[in-house]
């Protein structure tokens, strides 16, 4: 007894795909030989599958999505790490009220937050690879590299010059270290945040040269940069 139209049509998808196996395949084939309506049905399924296979594989979105994606990548990197790094550029785009120095007040707050978070993130990442005793020793003694020892003395310009020389020296030394590409990428990203904070604070100081708070923040920011580079260098030596 051959299959009915209803039985046949339930299996037409598989028959058209070629995935139906005997004995069902023979039953469907036998029914199609004698049923014009089901042959038309099978042809319709085949036409639909051909049309689906001919659909374009790629469709460009109506607008460029990269700018929004690019803006979100910092957040994405943050969630992969330990704590968020706050990009200063984003704080400035938001258009918050501006301080007397001409900078957005929230920008300065973000700068301070960023520095704290940068240190936390990098410390968390790098100290994983440190010898525990070394980390404890550093915390107890407040040990500093020779390059940073004399930074506190002298005027702002002089101190800036010392910081720049020290950071450049550490940065050059870092290139030869055995840090993994992932760690180097994190260090670079955080250096970018710190450099952005430095640039922002320098602009603020140019507008308000006598602002002691801005001066302290600038020097503290340089200090953070040195500490970041020192930690990265130590991690490279340990790694």
């Amino acid at each position: 007894m051959t299959w009915t139209c209803e039985e046949t049509r339930e299996r037409l998808d598989e028959w058209v795909e070629g995935s139906l196996v005997d004995p069902d395949r023979r039953e469907v084939a036998a029914h199609l030989e004698s049923c014009e309506a089901c042959r038309a049905e099978a042809a319709g399924v085949g036409e639909l599958l051909s049309a689906a296979a001919a659909l374009p594989r790629a469709i460009r979105p109506p607008q460029d999505l990269w700018p929004e994606i690019d803006a979100r990548l910092d957040e994405a990197a943050d969630t992969a790490g330990a704590a968020p790094v706050v990009p200063l550029s984003r704080a400035r785009r938001a258009g918050p009220p501006r301080s007397a120095s001409g900078l957005p007040r929230w920008g300065l707050v973000a700068a301070a937050l960023a520095l704290v978070l940068v240190t936390a993130v990098v410390t968390a990442l790098l100290t994983r690879r440190w010898d525990q005793a070394m980390a404890l020793k550093l915390q107890r003694t407040g040990e500093r590299a020779p390059a940073t020892a004399g930074v506190a003395a002298g005027g702002v310009a002089d101190q800036e010059a010392r910081f720049l020389a020290a950071s450049q020296e550490l940065l050059t030394g870092l290139e030869g270290q055995r840090l993994s590409p992932e760690t180097m990428a994190i260090v670079r990203r955080n250096l970018e945040v710190i450099d952005a904070a430095i640039a922002e604070l320098r602009v603020a100081l140019e507008r308000d040269p006598g602002n002691g708070e801005l001066t302290r923040m600038l020097l503290a920011t340089y200090q953070r940069k040195i500490e970041l580079l020192e930690q990265a260098a130590r991690a490279g030596e340990e790694g």
Partner: protein
């Protein structure tokens, strides 16, 4: 293996014959954002097409496309080259669409806009009229049937893979596909 499966393996799975972990992917894994942008430029069309067909909504598709690339950036270090990057990204995009709560809860769909948007890009495809009509009909399918049809007949996944990705049984996937095909043929008749 059906035709779409073969197409997927030839396309997504072996995109341009590139090695499993290309130098560009390695640069992106190391944090090189310019390299990641190049990957975006190469793959955004495939990712957006998938999102558009699975959601039936151009605006939602753009949101999910962004989500997919942001998630890819975050997970890039876990990519080990077991499959080609395009295949990995494709699978990740499917998961982004399927796990988005807004997607499953959204009922108001801009179907006509989706069809127009997709249809305007069919100039190079054969049988232009049928393609546009099919895009519009796919966008009008019920969510479950649409997703299975897109994943099986357009993207080339098997029922077992669809079952694993969507959390439905393989038999349910077959039933949804049968339903989708029937509804599409009725819509295109």
């Amino acid at each position: 293996m059906h035709a779409a499966t073969a197409r997927t393996l030839a396309g997504v799975g072996r995109s341009g014959g590139e090695p499993a972990v290309s130098a560009r992917v390695r640069r992106a894994q190391a944090g090189d954002r310019a390299a990641f942008r190049e990957l975006y430029e190469e793959h955004v069309g495939r990712v957006y097409a998938l999102c558009l067909r699975m959601t039936g909504d151009p605006e939602e598709a753009m949101e999910r496309t962004q989500d997919a690339f942001v998630l890819a950036w975050r997970k890039l270090r876990s990519f080990r080259g077991d499959a080609a990057f395009g295949t990995w990204l494709h699978r990740l995009t499917v998961n982004v669409v399927l796990t988005d709560r807004r997607s499953s809860g959204r009922r108001v769909r801009r179907v006509e806009a989706a069809a127009t948007d997709a249809g305007s890009r069919f100039e190079s495809a054969p049988r232009v009229g049928l393609g546009v009509d099919l895009e519009r009909a796919i966008a009008r399918l019920p969510t479950g049937a649409r997703r299975v049809f897109v994943l099986y007949d357009v993207e080339g996944y098997g029922h077992q893979e669809i079952a694993e990705m969507t959390g439905i049984a393989a038999g349910t996937s077959k039933a949804q596909l049968h339903r989708a095909r029937r509804l599409l043929r009725e819509a295109l008749a």
